[in-house]
Symmetry: C2
Subunit: 201 residues, 2 copies
């Protein structure tokens, strides 16, 4: 039996990403977001949503660029902090012990200490309710050697990204591997074929 | 040391959602997506991205509605299957053993067997690369009694949503609870205050 919970943002799994930009004074700033996701395969694009009132918003608009910094579970306190305070009053990079690395591809900094980074150039901007959605073309993905398999694919349990649950305002880790895509589903197709066979006999 | 992986869609955690709509013949259809995310808190909105060539795309355009159906880890084979075949040739609801429940709020079906459902009315449509982004206002969230805490919040480990890793094209489960938002970060703020205190003494 399903219960109606009302109009809520309870779409899980929700990511925990640090969006970084330069502010008008050229200082590196970042904020934590959970409203974001990939939005195209070709060219690879991601969208992040921030409110206009944030310091990060102005930085992204001015430089038409941002980075998506994907923290690991060991960085959950830093990620939480960067969502609690404003870059107007805080030097979040310094307070989190983060190194601001200048991207050579887009006019934005990235966080040296997170395992995975996406460097993005803003290609579309849309207002959706109280949030501004910045669609960014991903120009490069950078990952720590230590979280890679064969130098090309991610080792998910080493990246160990964080999941946000808006219903309890709490964080979760990634768990077990469940298996390969474009493989697990074959069992469903075979089940159907078996069923069809039964009927015709 | 960070390695450059090129322009890729490696933004984790990426969701695994079944988007459902009615086709032009009024049949319930669904497809699996990983390109989606919440994009506004007020009104609550979510975006899902599908290619124009898909059967689901036409259904969403015609009815200006869709549902986001969030499968549990026990439904990973069904979710994989629904991303492998087209609703033009397959009755995916029947083949997956899914019940199509008619939404009373939007002109779309939802999947009775998944633990969590978002009923959405299309409010914006954007073309992003090869994908069409449908921004939907979430009119209601429906969840199985069995995955709720106190009847209002989600029990994440019972919903047990699936995570997609585009780099290995494989699926993962949600793992440990990491702690409360707007709490864990206080330790970072205190560390900074402690640091300031040290310097002034």
């Amino acid at each position: 039996m399903k219960q109606s919970l009302g109009a809520k943002t309870f779409a899980v799994p929700t990511p925990v990403w640090l969006v970084a930009s330069y502010d008008s004074a050229g200082r590196a700033n970042c904020m934590t977001i959970a409203w974001g996701g990939i939005c195209s395969s070709q060219p690879p694009c991601v969208m992040v949503c921030v409110r206009k009132a944030t310091h990060t918003h102005a930085g992204i608009v001015q430089r038409a660029a941002y980075t998506v910094n994907i923290p690991s579970r060991t960085q959950v306190s830093e990620a939480d902090f960067a969502g609690m305070v404003s870059g107007r009053e805080h030097d979040k990079f310094a307070e989190c012990g983060f190194t601001a690395v200048r991207s050579t591809l887009v006019d934005a900094p990235y966080i040296g200490e997170v395992p995975l980074v996406l460097e993005c150039r803003v290609v579309q901007t849309h207002q959706v309710g109280i949030h501004t959605m910045f669609v960014g073309e991903i120009l490069d993905v950078k990952a720590d050697d230590s979280v890679l398999r064969d130098g090309r694919a991610l080792d998910m349990l080493k990246v160990s990204p964080i999941i946000y649950d808006a219903s309890t305002r709490s964080y979760f880790a990634v768990g077990d591997a469940l298996g390969p895509g474009w493989e697990l589903g074959k069992a469903i197709g075979q089940r159907k074929l078996a069923g069809v066979g039964d009927k015709t006999e």
